[in-house]
Structure formats: C-alpha cells, structure tokens
C-alpha cells in the first residue's frame, strides 16, 4: 500500500545554478499524516537539542553511518570530492563537541545562544518496505553572541532511517540561503 506523499516535480528548468525542487502539486495519501507528525516532532526535537546545546544527544540522532552535510554551494549533488562548509560523520561531530566543551575553547566565552524555527515540513518520499523517509523542511536560526545578532536560514533535507528505537538520520543536508556569503565570524556548531 502506498503510504506516500506523491509529489509531481515541475519540469521547468531551474534558475541558473540554483537547486529548486518546488513541487507543482502535492497530494497526501491517507495514513501519511501519522508519519508527518512523527517527523515534525523529530525535527523539533533536533532543533531544541541544538538550542539547548545538548551536543551529545544531538549526535545521537544520527545513525552510526550518518552524516551532517552543508554543501559549499546549492548546486552540489554529492558531498564526495566537493568543498563543504560541514561534512561530518559522528567521529568528526564528536571532535566538534569535545572542542565546544573544552574549558580552553576560548571563543566559548562569551557564551552564545541560538533559536531555531523549523517549518514547511513535507515528506518527499517514504519507502513502503523499510519506512525510511526523505523529508524537506525550512529553518530559520537566530544567533546571539557578544551583542551581535546573526541570521541563517534555508532548507533541511533529512534522509531518515526507521528503526525500532525511532528515526535516525542517515544524511542531513543543509542548504543555507546565505551560505555562500561572507561570514562575520564562523559557525561554531551545527546549524
């Protein structure tokens, strides 16, 4: 039984260099609502873990072979052999976490905060056999550090694996609208 949200993607040529996957029409099959609610809760939890600086729990959301990927440009189709702003497996994520928690991570003083909003959640594909999901959403992150506010916004694309313990991330792709711009200071943690 197809529990999928089928999506007819527009065949129009995307604007120069930009990855657009605007659905021309969306239909939601009966039964898909349960998945959407589960996925939404998953994404909200991930955002809360980031904002709460619960780095270890954040990493636990990833499958053992999972990756967090922020391409250097939106037209990249694979992280292999291409420049990336982030391309981290759980080991590299652990390096980042250990650095953030180190007492001599000088840039952690002053402490800083973020607030993530996640919205426009849609299931792009659901494997009827494994239950694995491809999910697209939009995010907006506001960061406050040493009296300076920064905004980062864009699209999350999650490849989620369904397991007995719930959903795990195989791949989280993050395309920021302002990813290619100059950075005033760096991104210390995942967006």
């Amino acid at each position: 039984m197809a529990k999928t949200i089928s999506r007819k993607t527009s065949t129009r040529k995307p604007a120069a260099g930009r990855r657009t996957s605007m659905p021309a029409r969306v239909t939601i099959a009966r039964g898909a609502y349960d998945s959407i609610r589960e996925v939404e809760q998953f994404l909200y939890r991930q955002a809360e873990l980031l904002d709460g600086k619960s780095w270890s729990d954040f990493i636990e959301l990833f499958a053992e072979d999972g990756f967090y990927w922020m391409p250097a440009s939106p037209d990249q189709s694979t992280p292999n052999g291409a420049p990336a702003i982030f391309y981290e497996d759980r080991d590299l994520m652990t390096v980042r976490m250990k650095r953030l928690m180190h007492p001599h991570a000088w840039s952690q003083s002053p402490m800083w905060g973020t607030s993530h909003l996640v919205s426009n959640v849609s299931i792009e594909d659901e494997n009827s056999r494994t239950g694995d999901l491809a999910v697209r959403s939009r995010f907006h992150m506001m960061e406050f550090r040493r009296d300076v506010v920064r905004h980062f916004a864009g699209v999350y694309s999650h490849q989620l694996r369904k397991t007995q313990d719930g959903l795990l991330i195989k791949l989280q792709r993050v395309d920021m609208v302002n990813g290619e711009g100059p950075y005033d200071y760096v991104l210390q943690a995942w967006v």
């Binding site: 420049p83 702003i85 650095r99 180190h102 840039s107 200071y185 760096v186 991104l187």
Partner: protein, 437 residues
C-alpha cells in the same frame, strides 16, 4: 589624529615594538592603502579562474574594485571596475562570463574584454568634444602592472617598483613548492571561495600566520579533541583519516614549536618550516609518488617531495600553504575589518586521492565551520579591542629580538617562536610607508 606625513609614521615602528595607533588609526590605515596596497604586488587570482574568453572575476586590490578577465586573444587583463563615462561599477557579480564585452547598466557603454571601448550609444554626441575617439579616457583604466608567476596573477597599481620576480624573490618557493608537486607542474583552482570577515586590523591576521607560539595555546581545545577521537578510532581498530592529524598537530608541546624555524625574506615575506609530516606512506601516496617519478625522475621527485614548508607568507596580503594547496588572500576593508578569501587548488595530473587531502584541509581547517579559526578570530577581535584602548601604547615584538641570524637581508630565526616574522613585516612596512620602495 591629524594626517601625518608618511615619514613621521615610521617613527611609530621600533625594531622590537610598534605603536598601537598603527593598528587602530583610520588615517594610518588610509596611508597603508596608498603606500602599501596600491604599490606592492597584490594577489588578484589564478589564471584557471578565468579559463575561457569572457570569464571574469571581481576582486579588491587595496581600495580598488578590479576585474580580472580573459580576453579573446587569451591574455588576462586586470581592469578597474568602473565605467569611463559616469563612473558606475561595471560588474556587480563575483564571477561569470561576460561574452565579448562588458556593458554598463547605466548608458550602455560597451567595453571589450581588454578594456578598450567597443561602442557607446549615439556616438556623434561626442564629436567635437574633448572625449572624441582618440581620447584614451574612453577606455577602462587598467592596473598599472600585471604579471603572473606559475598561473598566480598579481597586480600593482603603481607604474614603478620592483618586478614581480624581484618582489617575490626567494619567497617564490610558495608557488614552486605547490606547482612542482603536480605531475604536470601546474595547479587548477577549485571555484569555491570561502570568505570570512574578521573584526580586526589586517596586520593582526598577517602576524598570526607564522606565530608558532599560539597554536598550542589558542588551539589547545581543537587539538586535544581531535587527538582524543583519533585514539578512540584506534581503540576500535580503525585508523583516523589524515584530516585528524591537521588538528591533533596542535597538541605539539611548546618546546617542539621552538624548533620550527622561520626564514624571513626581503619585502616582508616569510616561510615557516613544515611540522605536520605530510608524506604518508599509504597506497594512494605511494601511487602518487610513482607517478611523480615517472614525470620528474627519482632524484627530482625526492627534491620536490622533500621540501618541508608549512606556510609561506607574502607580504602584505597572501598566505600560502603549498603542500596542502591552499591560499588565503587578505583584503582590508577598514581599519578594523578584514576580509579573508580562502581558496584551494588541484595538482594537475595527480590522482583524486591527493586532491582529497587538500580538500580535507580546506573543509576542516578553512571552511566557515572551522573549529580552528573560531579561536583565532576570537583572539584577533580581542587584540583589536585591546589596542584601541589606552591600556598601553606599544605592541611587543621583543621575543628573541637581536638573536636572529641575518645574512644578505635574509633573517633566519634561531627559535621557532621568535617574533622575527613580525619584525620582518614591519621592516617592510617602514620601507613602504617611508617611500623607500
């Protein structure tokens, strides 16, 4: 502060200390732009950025917005990004292909990609005026001098001064070491530029580059974090990728850093010896070495791969890590704001695995998510804040002052943590500002 004569400014620099105003005074910054960035050879870009005719990229040379573009005859030109008519900027993009001509968005003056005026609307309107067809001011202004070494394009906005080769001197090893490592002797740029703006004076970046005392302090957190995970991976029976080594090398104890010597050349350039041991013996590296021997022969290959440089700094504005094929270009925006453009390169003819090594460094150390620069930028900001205060008048460069070896104008530090590179930079600064070069 009122504008001083440039000769006066050199009094702000002593052999072992520099007055703080050199970092925070906007008027001195403007003098630096005129006397240094508009006279010295400034890195513009790499020829492979503009491969086809009409390919261009825009870049700041000092205060000047410039266009680097390839003309139909294959020549690369560096032009002021300003229409000769009413002064509008011609190119608003970072890069692209303009075809055969640049067209001004205001009144449609069209310029060939060598900068000469191709056409303007209703040209008879200029008949009998001072801007008739023979007037060179109808064309785009070009950088006074443009030269390239091994594909790396530099411009000088001053008509006089040393040639590019005289300017680079022995520091040209930055490009030789990078290009020689390619079986075909050339590199290709990867068309991604990470851009990071630091809220500090440009010199603070330059002084940090060869500062061998800071890594184990500033980057202690990143070094230890990577070393811990490296050990965890080994405990699982795995082997951490080379990338981890780039980070865990920061745990090198301080006495070891004192053994990493610097060579300080004329014009403010410096080189720092290698410390990372980037000659692994994995199958990919061995295949690459075999390929190198085929191109260069065994003896020359050993010479090339035996060069052990971590970093070459070309004053005033380029940091080159030749063995990892990275460059960082310094574009001062204001006295307290500096844009750093970060690029990396492919060794032509080398296997993909060798490119992945450069890419790993680019992604992990030089990307906007870098856990290394995160702490440098914090230091740079703190330095600039401190220097803007009246808490002290001078910046100290006393470490091992008077203890370096100098011969024929080249200064070799006896200690890796000697502040010789900073003193050498200010030797050049004084020459530029004093008008000596």
């Amino acid at each position: 502060m009122t504008r001083k004569g440039r000769g006066d400014l050199t009094r702000l620099v002593e052999p072992d200390r520099v007055h703080r105003s050199v970092y925070v005074d906007p008027a001195i910054f403007e003098s630096e732009m005129e006397a240094i960035f508009h006279r010295a050879w400034i890195y513009v870009g790499h020829e492979s950025q503009v491969q086809r005719p009409g390919d261009y990229c825009t870049v700041l040379v000092g205060r000047q917005p410039m266009i680097m573009v390839r003309h139909s005859d294959g020549q690369v030109h560096v032009l002021y990004n300003r229409c000769a008519h009413r002064g509008a900027m011609l190119c608003g993009n970072l890069r692209g292909n303009t075809g055969e001509a640049f067209t001004c968005s205001y009144h449609s003056w069209r310029y060939n990609t060598n900068g000469s005026l191709e056409s303007m609307p209703l040209p008879k309107g200029y008949d009998g005026t001072r801007l008739s067809a023979a007037n060179q001011e109808r064309n785009l202004k070009r950088a006074a001098r443009v030269a390239a070494y091994r594909g790396f394009v530099f411009a000088s906005l001053a008509a006089d001064g040393p040639s590019l080769m005289d300017f680079l001197g022995d520091a040209k090893i930055a490009f030789d070491d990078m290009c020689d490592r390619a079986p075909e002797g050339q590199v290709d740029i990867v068309q991604t530029c990470f851009r990071i703006v630091q809220h500090s004076n440009w010199k603070i970046f330059m002084e940090n580059q060869l500062d061998a005392l800071h890594p184990s302090v500033t980057h202690e957190s990143s070094g230890q974090a990577a070393a811990q995970v490296e050990r965890d991976i080994a405990r699982r029976g795995g082997k951490a990728p080379l990338d981890y080594h780039y980070l865990s090398a920061f745990t090198t104890p301080l006495p070891k850093w004192d053994e990493v010597l610097t060579v300080n050349y004329q014009h403010g350039h410096s080189a720092l010896q290698g410390y990372m041991g980037l000659r692994p013996q994995d199958p990919d590296s061995l295949a690459y070495e075999a390929m190198m021997r085929k191109h260069y022969g065994a003896k020359r290959t050993e010479e090339i791969l035996g060069v052990n440089i971590h970093h070459v700094l070309l004053y005033p504005g380029l940091s080159v890590q030749s063995a990892l094929q990275q460059v960082r270009a310094v574009r001062p925006l204001a006295v307290d704001r500096t844009l750093i453009e970060i690029w990396h390169f492919r060794l032509k003819g080398a296997p993909e695995a060798i490119y992945r090594r450069a890419l790993g460094y680019y992604n992990l150390i030089n990307s906007p998510s870098t856990i290394v620069n995160a702490d440098d930028l914090e230091n740079f900001w703190r330095c600039h804040q401190g220097l803007a205060s009246d808490g002290g008048a001078w910046v100290s460069f006393h470490r091992n002052a008077g203890q370096d070896d100098e011969q024929d104008g080249v200064i070799r530090s006896r200690w890796g943590t000697s502040e010789a590179p900073m003193r050498n930079q200010f030797r050049a600064w004084t020459q530029y500002i004093g008008g000596g070069r």
